[in-house]
Structures are given as C-alpha cells and as structure tokens.
Amino acid sequence: MSSNKVIKAAFESMMFTWGEPLDVKLAADVFGITSKEAYDIFNELKGEYDSQGRGIRIREINKAFQFVTSPDVYDYIERLCTPSKQKKLSQAALEVLAIIAYKQPVTRGEIEAVRGIKCERVLEGLENKNLIEEVGRSPGIGRPILYGTTDMFLRNFGFTSINELPDIDDIESVVHEQDEEGDSSQVTFNLSQGNMK
C-alpha cells in the first residue's frame, strides 16, 4: 500500500499530465484504492493548494479533478500572453441554458413555455458546444427529447456539480446589482418616446 504522500504526489503529476479533468475512479484504479479514498485524497490536496495561495489550483468537476490557474493571478497571465478564450454565450443561449440547468431533465416545449419563444436553434447551438445533451425521452405525447447539462457546462461555468448552482430563489438580490452593470453594457439604441410617436 502506497503512503498518502506518494499518492498525493502521483495525483499531482497525473492531473498535470492528463490536462482534462481526471476521473476519480481512473486515479483510484492506478492505486487499487476505492473511489471514496481517492476522492478524499484529491480534496485534501485541493485544500493544500488553496490554503497555500498557490498560482495553480485544483478544481473539481463532477468527481473529476483538474489543475487550473488561480483567478487571482489572471492579470499577470494576461500580461504575459493572450491565451485563447472561449466565446461568451449570447443572452438567449444563457437563458435557455439556465432553464435547462435548473429544470433538468426538461423538454423543448417546457423551455419554450417559460420564454414564450421558440428555441430550436439555440438548443442546437448549445448541443454543438457540448454544453447540453439529450438525456432521454419524456413519457409524454410524442415522447419529446429531454435535455440536461453536461460536464463541459460545469467546467465552462466553474461549477463543481449541478447541486452547486446558486439557489434560484436567492438569485434575485444578487442579480439586481448585476442588472445595473448589465444595463450600461447593453446600451444599444436608445429611443425616446418622442421618436416613437
């Protein structure tokens, strides 16, 4: 049986080599330990990096762990280079994604009922970005497709698991501050009532 220290060192280099989130089960198998044991060791390691305020951190995505840079030192990385970034999602895509994230598994009909507008193309776009996926069929008429979010969604939004999404009923207060900021950045084409006649 390998010592805790050896396993931690191995997990570090395994995560580094793997790049992608490293599945706990996969890592556990290398040592012949249980997933639960491996999970605890990963979390211990993650805690060490956090408490030491390191420039690289460990993040969890749905029972998988990955080395990433600390957001605290973003400015320095940006000064060094311009790493390629994912494109931000459109407002429509964000709304549809939010409905899926909170209501999953959910049909297209249910999503459209909330927004009052069709969303076929938005769904297609989100599926192509691998942020949502079909998770089954509803037992209802026509057996419509049920959608759910993917691990890529968690990864792109920095959520550990779907349970970690902010409580939807508490969001309002958080968002109100946001809204003001949002308004200014959204300025597009301001019509006064006079113009509209």
């Binding site: 600390s70 957001p71 990385i77 994912q86 409905i99 009052g116 902010p166 300025v187």
Partner: protein, 250 residues
C-alpha cells in the same frame, strides 16, 4: 413623461414585457395592463417601422394583453358567490412573468459565473502517445464463459461418443466369428476343388475388422481340423482347403 425604450432584440415577448414593466417602475403584482399594453404595441409597431422582423410570439402576447385589458374593464364582483370564478385576469400573466424573471436572473448569475471562469486557464494534455502505442493486454476470462464453453464441449463430445458406439455395435453385429465360419464353410463347399485363398475371402470387404475376424475364423477352423492351411513362402498367398472327411464329403 419621457422614457427610454431600448430598441434591441429582446429575447422574447416576456423579455420585452418585463423590460416595459420595470422601466415603468410598476409592481409586477399590480400591472397597469392598459398602459403596458399600449407601450407593448407601440414597441412592436416601432420594430415593424424599422423593418425588424417581429416574431409571431410577440404578436401572440400582444393579443393576450389586449384580452386581459378588456376583461379588466368588466366589473370584478357581481355577487358574493361568484368572486372565485372572477379572479384577477392578470393572475396567469403575473405567474408567467415571475417564472420568466426567475430564469432571466439565473441566466445573469450564470453569465457572471462564466465571466469569472474565464479568468482561469486549463492546460492541454501532455503528449502521452508513447503510452498509447503499447496497450496493456489482459485476458478477459469469465468463469461462466469458461464453464459454459467446457460444458458445450462435453455435450458435443458425448453426442459424438453415442454416435460412435452405435456405429461400432452395428458393425460387430454384422459379422461375428460364427457367421464368418459358416460363410467360409459354405464357400469351400461350393468351390470346385474345395480350395480358396485368404485373399478370396476379403474380396468384398477389406476393412481391418473383417480381415481380423476372417483371419481368426480360419485359425479357429484350422484348430478344429476343419480346414488345412498352407503358405508356400513368407507373405505369399494363404491357401485354404477343406480337410478330412468334411472335405471328402463336400
């Protein structure tokens, strides 16, 4: 009063409606339907004027608003009994607006999460092709599969054995030594000169079994002095001749 309306593409009819309500600083729970409906229709007209394609869904909500507006004009209570049925016509609308707002807020929170997440970077996977080229081969053996395949083999074997046993029995029944002796005796009897060769006896069936039975039969007959055997040289033909009285009688 002068107020501003953003002429941007709204994410849907509810997005526009929520915007108008918030802009007018109205309570969602007490929407001034008449005022909002007018503004909503004005906005759609404006979009049309600007040659922005207006989705049908916007028109559908406009119609719904007009309907609510007209129902609001009806007296709310006629008699005490019917109050329940004549609930606030805005109720369903308010519910939908609240539901939409909930997810609009969630989308905003997610946008923030996305923005924060863009401040961190992953690294690509290291080059692991050197490992991929020599995969670990391991044997997939399942005990049931192991036993099943062996049982299958046993059954096949058993079947083969049964067939073979029947076949052997039939062959043995076909020619016994007694039958052979009777046959040889008859043959000698019917042969002029009363002499045949061993090869003559095998002309019809040269199988090892027949050869053995025939051979042991002539040995048996020789033992009882029923026939005389002679061979002129090693590996030469064996001559069989009826012996003694029997031969004479024949």
């Amino acid at each position: 009063m002068v107020y501003k309306v953003k002429l941007s593409t709204f994410e849907g009819p509810f997005d526009l409606l929520v915007h108008l309500i918030e802009n007018a600083r109205m309570s969602i729970y007490d929407i001034k339907v008449s005022e909002i409906t007018d503004q909503y229709i004005q906005y759609i007209d404006q979009m049309k004027k600007q040659e922005i394609e207006v989705a049908t869904e916007f028109i559908v909500l406009a119609a719904a608003l007009i309907e609510i507006k007209s129902r609001m004009l009806l007296p709310r209570t006629i008699s005490g009994e019917e109050v329940d049925e004549l609930a606030d016509p805005r109720e369903a609308l308010v519910e939908r607006i609240l539901e939409y707002k909930k997810f609009k807020n969630a989308a905003a929170a997610m946008e923030e999460a996305e923005k924060n997440n863009m401040r961190i970077f992953e690294k690509p996977q290291e080059d692991i092709t050197c490992f991929l080229e020599k995969p670990d081969e391991y044997l997939k053996m399942d005990i049931n599969q192991f036993v099943n395949s062996f049982n299958l083999f046993l059954r096949r074997k058993q079947k083969l054995e049964d067939i073979r046993k029947t076949y052997t029995r039939l062959e043995r029944q076909k020619i016994s030594e007694e039958q052979k002796i009777r046959y040889i005796r008859a043959l000698l009897h019917n042969t002029t000169g009363g002499e045949i060769t061993f090869a003559d006896l095998l002309r019809e069936d040269e199988s090892r079994y027949n050869t053995a039975v025939t051979f042991s039969s002539i040995l048996e007959m020789a033992k009882w002095n029923h026939i005389e055997l002679s061979q002129k040289r090693n590996f030469g033909p064996i001559f069989i001749k009826a012996a003694g009285e029997e031969g004479v009688n024949a």
